[in-house]
Point group: C2
DNA sequence: CGAAATATTGAAGTTATTCAACTGGAGTGG
DNA sequence: CCACTCCAGTTGAATAACTTCAATATTTCG
């Protein structure tokens, strides 16, 4: 049992009307920086909440694109299948983060998105977003910032290029830590939702290498590893020793 | 390194009014898919053309953001300097491609952009773009596609994660080839504008590894290398043998 | 032309991968 | 409840890939 499940406790309704104005993620999600009136406009924009159970897909590569989705609770991974059948993980996604931005380009999803734990998403029909954005410039501008942040984030991953396995892993852990912290969870003690293999795929390493790197960090006393649970014992040391790579 | 000011220095014709409606890049750049009237609106949007000479910077990380720039001619690289002083290349940019999308996120440039050869850019004040976009939905929508494409492109780089040096390099060459082709240049015979070191930085490899991989491909008869000039002798073989990675 | 930057290549060293054996936990069915 | 299997994870040993260091060649540019 994870000490910090990202799931809300009482969810037995498959779809409910989403309301940004009373959502606990207001300060993380689309509404950031919007005033009361603008957030109410968002209430009209956001269609509904969907439950996605662990292992279910939110969308698949090749499907036509209509709506963005914001993670309301839970945890997702996105990935693509390469010709040879290998799965390449392209990202992990927490509450408040937007899925589907890649699909705007060609009106087609370019990746698969699967829930790593029971999750909920809010659906945002993209045409509607563009429509409402026309009348609420600050909303449109905010959306541009979100897209831009996605670019910055992806580019941050690129910068791991020159790093060694241990450094990449630390950068990854620090990134998760930072994102958990922003969501009110401990930045020092959290559960990985993904397997070593998925981490490896994301970082361009093999699962054994991830395992070894984790063991090594534990030997050095920098972290504690108990299966999926990670404790960062000396986050400053981690930050100093390895690239701070604080990309959002 | 050459001393390079932020402003164009001594150009005879430093800045001229840009006109999308008569630009040869119409089919590659912002105007793609817009009708006559909409393109004329773009003429008002685009401020002017700037000449950036080889080695000069278009912008630097940390500077405040006002305008996007579209490469009108020439070739740019973007990069960030890491704490240890190492330069990490984040991209190469050809005519018709937009620079500065990363900066929207925080109104601050997150990377440096330097011309790898004498170049020209068209300046697009971002506030103006958002303003005009409000009245021309198709322009706004097109802009969203451009941002989305940038995300797809960056993510394509991520997918090189699992590949070996030779495969990454081939993916890189095929990507360049494809982009040259779209611009009317030969997809089989082109000049690299960047050094081996810059390619290496971009791909997460050392310059010697790039050099060796190029030599190896030449030995195998797949390409010809003459310093910066590359000829692809068997592009189908290259495409088949290595990941097609046709990201945009 | 000559200096500095860029590129190539070899040999040695390091790092990550591969293959393989083994552990432990979750879930299943007798 | 236990035996069993499956899956994720750990760890070791051998191998492959990449980097580093170093020497040399080539190109670029003032």
């Amino acid at each position: 049992m994870s000490p910090d499940s990202l799931m809300p406790k009482n969810c037995n309704i498959p779809c409910i009307k989403a309301r940004c104005s009373s959502c606990s993620l207001r300060e993380l999600c689309l509404p950031v920086g919007l005033d009361e009136q603008e957030v109410r406009a968002l209430d009209h924009l956001v269609n509904q909440r969907h439950k996605i159970r662990r292992g279910e897909h939110l969308h698949r590569a090749g499907l036509s694109f209509h709506s963005l989705h914001v993670v309301r609770s839970g945890f997702f991974k996105t990935y693509v299948l390469q010709e040879d059948g290998r799965e390449q993980v392209t990202g992990f996604h927490m509450p408040g983060e937007v899925l589907g931005l890649d699909a705007i380009s060609a009106d087609t999803h370019t990746c698969n998105a699967v829930a790593l734990e029971d999750s909920e998403v809010c659906e945002i029909p993209f045409a509607k977003l563009e429509g409402i954005g026309r009348t609420i410039p600050s909303l449109m501008h905010h959306f541009h910032k979100i897209m831009s942040r996605e670019i910055v984030r992806d580019r941050g991953m690129l910068m791991l290029g020159g790093m060694k396995a241990g450094e990449r892993l630390v950068a990854f852990l620090l990134n998760l830590s930072h994102r958990f912290a922003k969501r009110g969870y401990s930045p020092l003690d959290f559960n990985l939702r993904m397997t070593r293999e998925e981490i490896g795929s994301y970082l361009g390493l093999k699962l054994e290498t991830i395992s070894r790197a984790l063991s090594r960090l534990q030997e050095d006393g920098l972290i504690n590893v108990d299966n999926k649970r990670i404790r960062l014992n000396d986050i400053d040391h981690l930050r100093r020793q390895y690239g701070s790579s604080s990309y959002e």
